[in-house]
């Protein structure tokens, strides 16, 4: 099973990289783009029995290492497609 973890700075934390990207886009003429926030994206291959177990495991490592709770938040998505394809073969 796969988990995708998206880590971003908390809304209250200033993101100078995102702001610089937004300014670059505005100078390229993209007036329709407002705020930009830059984050990190992780793909985890998990050995988990169920989507719930996968989510628990991914959240645990996101809390422990992938994000710093002082400045960042994260969101976890579980991809079951691999598991489904294994099922359909059996």
């Amino acid at each position: 099973m796969k988990a995708r973890v998206f880590v971003t700075l908390k809304p209250s934390v200033f993101d100078p990289q995102g702001q610089t990207i937004a300014e670059a886009l505005h100078s390229l003429g993209y007036a329709g783009i407002g705020d930009v926030r830059q984050g990190k994206y992780f793909e985890l291959e998990l050995d988990a029995a169920s989507p719930d177990a996968a989510r628990t495991l991914a959240s645990e490592v996101a809390d422990k290492l992938l994000s710093n709770p002082v400045i960042e938040t994260y969101r976890v998505e579980i991809d079951e497609s691999e598991r489904r394809s294994l099922k359909s073969e059996s």
Partner: protein, 161 residues
């Protein structure tokens, strides 16, 4: 007095710290590799500057899980002095031994310069030989030196000096 200087993969100011302790202060100094579990009977622990683990993920985020950090945590909790310089400070923040976190500099530039700090308190081991109001010229070099903490944490730090 004996100083333990912790060496992480990517530390690059460990020899500066060794020189300062051994040849400037005239004290005992020993390097301690991050995989070790003891602190060689040190009285002071120094986490030097550098780029531990290449600054991957976040500065100090991986170094905080080094085996030696368990001993550093116990050492700090027993009330003994731990000095984190630059990346060492970032590691102490990530480890939760210091509150707050470091952010990318607001202007996205790597700052390498001398700055001036005024001594407000002389009742700490780190400023005991300075005079209140004295201005110190301190070299800095960092890309993530923007200290961040929640407002209540900052107020608490200010209140405690």
């Amino acid at each position: 007095m004996k100083f333990a200087i912790i060496v992480f993969p990517g530390s690059n100011c460990d020899h500066d710290a060794y020189h300062a302790v051994k040849h400037v202060l005239g004290q005992d100094a020993e390097f301690v590799w991050h995989k070790e579990t003891g602190l060689k009977g040190a009285d002071v622990v120094v986490l030097p500057g550098g780029f531990s683990h290449g600054d991957y993920l976040r500065t100090g985020a991986i170094a905080r899980f080094s085996p030696v950090m368990t001993a550093v945590r116990q050492f700090a909790q027993s009330g003994r002095p731990v000095l984190g310089i630059c990346n060492g400070f970032q590691i102490l923040c990530e480890a939760g031994l210091l509150p707050g976190a470091m952010l990318r500099n607001r202007d996205l530039k790597f700052h390498c310069e001398h700055i001036f700090v005024r001594v407000e308190q002389t009742d700490t081991p780190f400023t005991a030989r300075a005079v209140t109001g004295q201005v110190l010229r301190i070299p800095i070099a960092h890309g993530e030196g923007n200290y961040y903490a929640q407002t209540d944490v900052v107020s608490r730090l200010e209140a405690s000096g």
